[in-house]
Structures are given as structure tokens and as C-alpha cells.
């Protein structure tokens, strides 16, 4: 259990962290999300005792980080943004130092080092100098260091920054596996990453905590209604006629795609989505119009994030979902359509037609 209360940090006159309070239950993977310079690293540095706070308190499993730093720090494994490695050492030597500093009993040190090296898959580079390792391995050595002594809480500051896509996937899998045994707190400015790895998300912007909830709840909170997005080769009037006959539609928005297809966004309540989708495809087929794509538009965290962090911009759901796949084939369809609007086209009776 980690409790942060009214945490405030000033750098000179600059307020880096502004009265943040939250608590994290044991066994959760929690993500700090926020743009660069939002105060994520500062908050983490304070939580791990690397930095003092101007005001507020941090309690790790009942130990206050300022009043009982040694006991509290024993509960934590921390990987700062830049992995704190001694480049002239091998991972094995480095881990030995950290293990000794963490007061792991002499007899168990080597077993413990073997265990964390296996867990982070660095055994094969254990005797090479750290300075010669790739960035991904350096990051792993940094993570291995946090695992020594099996602390309750693992805090990772931007663990995937600067890694190549394969390494990113590997490190993410590693972190996910850590989530089974430890409370993991990680920070990132990449939404998909946090969405993918974390149970709970804390959104921080300009030093303030703006949202703290599970990923699903955050999505739900900002999307009380669901929307269906579809692409069709029908004209607007045709589509309006079709839609008029369908029940349960609250709001419809039409827009023209670049390729000339009609994009329709239909807002409704979540329960009715499957029915409406079924009926839509059948009705369009009846009037011999193709439905080229149909999807449920979920608000993704991206939208929520942008919305929360730019509080000056009030309108929401601005980001449209990118419609890639229809692009290539539809150019042809578009031309056909422009010449002969009434031309009959073979449309299948299936739910969705794909070419």
C-alpha cells in the first residue's frame, strides 16, 4: 500500500508537483501518464527518497519515506529514467554491490543475483562490461537491480524510452510478468503503453493529478454513449432514408471521406449497438449499397489524455479514427459512383462486405 498525501514540490519558485494525493493498493500495476515535464519523474524521485518534498507525505507499507527512510527504501526497487549503472563493471559485480547495499545476507547473495538475472534474462551478458551492452540490456540490468531482495514495490521511470521496437515489447512483457509478484509503478508519456500494461492510470499534467482510475473506467467516464462508425458508397439522401427507418439512433453525423465514400457516425446507447449494426448492414444491402466498413468507435485514452491535458480546449472526441484500408480500392469505386450514381452494384448479403 502506497499512500501519497498532499505532495508539493517547488524548484525555486517553480511548482513542479502541485498538491498530489493518491493511494495505490498492493499488487496493482499503476501507470503515471503525462506529457514531458509534467512532474512524473519528480513525483517518483520523491516517492523513492531521492528528493525532498516541499510539503506532503509519502508512506510505503506504513513507513514514511522522510521519517523512516531506511525501512521505507527497503520496500522499494527504483529504476530512474537514466539507468544508474557503473559502466566499468560487469552486471554481476554491479548487482553484487546493490545486493550488499540492500543488506541481503551473504549466503543468499549469489542465489538472489542468479534469480534476478534469470528473470530479466541477462545471464548470458553477466560477465561483460556494462558499457559494452546494448541499451536494451542496460535497461534490463537496471530492472534486475530493482528486483534484488524482492521489494514489494517496483518503481520504473520511463522504462521503455530509447529502446527499439523489439526491445520495447520485451521490456513490456517483462514488466507485465513483474506485475504478478510486485506492485509496479511506471511512468510513460506513451498512452498505448500504459493502456497495455497498467491496471490503473494516473494522469499528471503541469504538476497536478487530473485523473486516477482504471483504464476501463477512464474510457467509460468519458464515453457514456457509444458510437458506430461506418463507410458506405451510398449518397447522403439515401443514407438518411435508410437511417430514418432504424430505431434507437440518437444522433447522426455525416462526413465525406477523401475517397468519396460517405462516413456516418451514429451515436446510440451501448446496449443497442449490436442490433443496430446488424440492421444497418441488412438495410443498406436492401437498397443495394455496400457497407465497406463498420466499427464501434471507442474513445481511446489518446482522446481522453489530450482532452485532460489541454483543459483550455473544451470540445471532445475530436480525433477521428484513421481509415486506412479502404483507401486503395475505393478510388475506383469513387469514380464509378461519380459517373453513374444509380448504377447497381453487386452487394453481398453478408454483414460486412470486404474487398
Amino acid at each position: 500500500m502506497i499512500e501519497v498525501k498532499n505532495l508539493t514540490k517547488y524548484y525555486g519558485s517553480h511548482k513542479a508537483v502541485d498538491n498530489i494525493s493518491f493511494s495505490i493498493k498492493d499488487g496493482t500495476v499503476c501507470g503515471f501518464l503525462g506529457p514531458n515535464g509534467a512532474g512524473k519523474s519528480t513525483t517518483m524521485n520523491i516517492m523513492t527518497g531521492c528528493l525532498s518534498a516541499t510539503e506532503g507525505s509519502v508512506t510505503i507499507s506504513g513507513f514514511d519515506i522522510f521519517d523512516h527512510p531506511i525501512e521505507a527504501k527497503r520496500m522499494i526497487g527504483y529504476l530512474p529514467e537514466q539507468p544508474p549503472l557503473y559502466y566499468e563493471e560487469t552486471p554481476r559485480e554491479y548487482l553484487r554491490f546493490v545486493a550488499e547495499a540492500k543488506k541481503i545476507p551473504g549466503g543468499k547473495i549469489w542465489d538472489e543475483i542468479e534469480r534476478v538475472m534469470k528473470e530479466t534474462q541477462i545471464t548470458e551478458v553477466a560477465d561483460r562490461l556494462i558499457k559494452n551492452l546494448s541499451k536494451g540490456y542496460k535497461q534490463r540490468v537496471g530492472i534486475a537491480q530493482t528486483l534484488l531482495g524482492s521489494p514489494k514495490v517496483i518503481i520504473l521511470d520511463e522504462p521503455t524510452v530509447g529502446l527499439d521496437p523489439i526491445q520495447v515489447v520485451e521490456i513490456r512483457d517483462l514488466i507485465k510478468s513483474l506485475g504478478r509478484k510486485h506492485t509496479v509503478i511506471l511512468s510513460s508519456h506513451i498512452l498505448s503503453e500504459v493502456q497495455n500494461m497498467c491496471d490503473e492510470i494516473l494522469i499528471i499534467s503541469k504538476g497536478k493529478l487530473i485523473a486516477y482510475d482504471t483504464a476501463e473506467n477512464l474510457e467509460k467516464m468519458f464515453l457514456p454513449r457509444s458510437a458506430i462508425e461506418m463507410l458506405t458508397d451510398a449518397g447522403k439522401e439515401e443514407a438518411e432514408a435508410v437511417l430514418a427507418a432504424i430505431e434507437g439512433i440518437d444522433e447522426v453525423k455525416y462526413s465525406r471521406e477523401e475517397n468519396g465514400l460517405l462516413k456516418i457516425r451514429i451515436e446510440t446507447v451501448p446496449d443497442k449497438v449490436p442490433d443496430i449494426m446488424r440492421v444497418l448492414s441488412l438495410r443498406f444491402a436492401e437498397v443495394k449499397r455496400a457497407v465497406l466498413k463498420m466499427d464501434i468507435a471507442k474513445a481511446n485514452l489518446e482522446e481522453i489524455f489530450i482532452e485532460l491535458t489541454n483543459s483550455d480546449e473544451p470540445d471532445k472526441n475530436t480525433a477521428g479514427s484513421p481509415e486506412g484500408p479502404a483507401g486503395v480500392i475505393s478510388q475506383e469505386v469513387l469514380e464509378e459512383k461519380a459517373e453513374e450514381p444509380e448504377k447497381e452494384k453487386p452487394a453481398s448479403d453478408g454483414e460486412e462486405e470486404k474487398e
Binding site: Y11, G49, P69, E71, Y86, V98, A101, Q145
Partner: protein, 287 residues
């Protein structure tokens, strides 16, 4: 503390630092031993040590420049802060590791008086007393070097400042003789030093009120005392320099005087600079 101690020792002995230091120290001791004992024929090994103490100007910066500056630069200090060890343990562990690295070449040199005593009438207690003084001097200078290393992120900068401080230390007594001994001269020198200390306080604490308060108060007291009783200031500055000099105490050991107050002086210097180092590291948390 032992973890930091062992780690620091390992770093010094896997790198070049300890060896470069050892080589320099042994070369200097050997050169001066050749000069005083073998060529000039003095039966005093302590003279060789006194001469070799000049090498501290070069060797102490080599030994201490990396100690904390490099941790800051590589951001490994964040690891130290987040480990369950206190800042005092970190600093003391590092200090003892460096001192041990400095003691190793002296242990080798410890055989020299025994060898020399085969060929002449060497008084061993003064030799080993001076050797003890040599190690204490090194320890005091190392504490200064570690502190200097803690105020910067750059190793060359740490080495440069440390070199300057070592030179001042070494020539302090000589400088003291040249320094003005008039009362007015002492007053000016003291006020200048107080202003420098005030700037240092400001740099370290970023607290203008504290720095200015200290500066003005100290200068006011000094000037007040000068007007109250200017005779006190006659020759005061050279006297202060002499009393502060680390080397001056060492030379007393060389002269065959084993004075416990000198040992306490060395320990005080060490504790004072290690305390400053701890403050300097703590300051990073409170910036």
C-alpha cells in the same frame, strides 16, 4: 557502509586510479629516499617522507576527483539515494575506501626503513611515527578532495580545484611568512576570507539571507575587534595560516614529535570535510 566501501575499493582497483596513485607515491618516496638516505647519507627515513609529501599535490586530485563527481555525472547517485543506506554511510564508506587505497603504497614503503637500518643507525620509531603522520595527512587531504569532488559534476573540474587547494595547503606556511604581518594587513586578509566563505555558503545553500548574514556579521565582528584592540591583529593572519596548515602538523611528526593534539587535529579536519560532503550530497535532495 561496507557495501559502499567494498564497491568503491573494487572500482579503484579495477580501474587505474589506485595504481596510478600508488606508482606516483612510490616513485616520490623512492626519489627522495635516494636523495636523502642513499646519496646524502642521512639516517632519517622521515626526511624522505617529508619530501615525498610534495606528491600529494598531484596524487590527491587523482585519487579523489572521481569519487562523487562521477556518480553525479553518470546519475548513479540516484541509485545511492534510493538504496536503504544513509548519506553518512555512503560518504564514510567512500572515504575509508580511498584511504585504504592510499595506505597500500605506504605499506610497501614500510619495508624501506627496515632495509635501510641494515646499513646505518636508523631510529625506527621516528620513521614509523612520520609514516603515521604521512597517512593522517593523506587522510585529511583526501577528505578535502572528496568534498571538492562533491561540489561539481565534472572530474577535470574537481581535479583542478583540488590541485589548487593542495598547492595552497602545501605552500601555506611559506605563504604565511610572506603574508603581511601588520595589523591592518591581517584585517584586510580576514575580511576577504570571510567574504569568500559567505559566497561559498551562498553557493552551497542557495540561501542569500544566511550567506549575507554570515558575511556581514563576521566582517562586522572582525572590524569591531580591530578598532577595539588592533594589537591583536599583529601577525594574526600568518599565525592562523600556520595553525591551519595540514603540512605544518605533519612536519612535527617528521621532527620526531608524536603529539596527540595533532592526531585530534587531523581527525577534526577529516570529520569537518566529510560533514561538508554529506551536506553537499543532501543539498541535492533539497535543491
Amino acid at each position: 557502509m561496507t557495501a559502499v566501501f567494498k564497491h568503491e575499493l573494487r572500482l579503484m582497483f579495477t580501474g587505474l586510479t589506485a595504481y596510478v596513485y600508488g606508482a606516483f607515491t612510490l616513485i616520490f618516496i623512492a626519489v627522495y629516499m635516494m636523495y636523502y638516505n642513499l646519496t646524502a647519507g642521512y639516517a632519517n627515513f622521515e626526511f624522505a617522507l617529508a619530501g615525498a609529501s610534495f606528491a600529494f599535490i598531484i596524487t590527491i586530485p587523482i585519487l579523489t576527483m572521481r569519487i562523487i563527481a562521477e556518480e553525479k555525472k553518470q546519475k548513479t547517485d540516484q541509485l545511492l539515494y534510493s538504496l536503504p543506506i544513509s548519506t553518512v554511510q555512503i560518504v564514510v564508506g567512500k572515504f575509508f575506501a580511498v584511504v585504504l587505497a592510499a595506505v597500500v603504497p605506504v605499506l610497501i614503503a614500510a619495508a624501506y626503513p627496515l632495509v635501510l637500518s641494515n646499513y646505518g643507525n636508523l631510529y625506527l620509531p621516528t620513521s614509523y611515527g612520520a609514516m603515521f603522520g604521512y597517512v593522517m595527512t593523506a587522510a585529511a587531504l583526501i577528505a578535502m578532495g572528496i568534498f571538492i569532488s562533491s561540489i561539481t559534476e565534472s572530474q577535470p573540474m574537481a581535479a583542478g580545484i583540488c590541485f589548487a587547494v593542495m598547492v595552497v595547503n602545501y605552500y601555506m606556511v611559506t605563504l604565511a611568512e610572506y603574508a603581511t604581518s601588520s595589523a591592518y594587513g591581517s584585517l584586510v586578509a580576514l575580511v576577504v576570507i570571510e567574504v569568500i566563505i559567505a559566497f561559498l555558503i551562498r553557493h552551497m545553500t542557495r540561501n542569500d539571507i544566511l550567506a549575507e548574514g554570515f558575511g556581514f556579521a563576521a566582517a562586522a565582528v572582525t572590524i569591531g575587534l580591530y578598532f577595539y584592540h588592533s594589537e591583536w591583529f599583529e601577525g594574526l593572519f600568518p599565525e592562523i595560516l600556520k595553525n591551519l596548515s595540514v603540512y605544518e602538523r605533519f612536519y612535527e611528526f617528521v621532527d620526531g614529535i608524536f603529539d596527540y593534539t595533532h592526531v585530534i587535529y587531523f581527525i577534526s579536519v577529516i570529520v569537518f570535510f566529510l560533514f561538508l560532503t554529506v551536506q553537499s550530497l543532501e543539498k541535492r535532495r533539497y535543491n
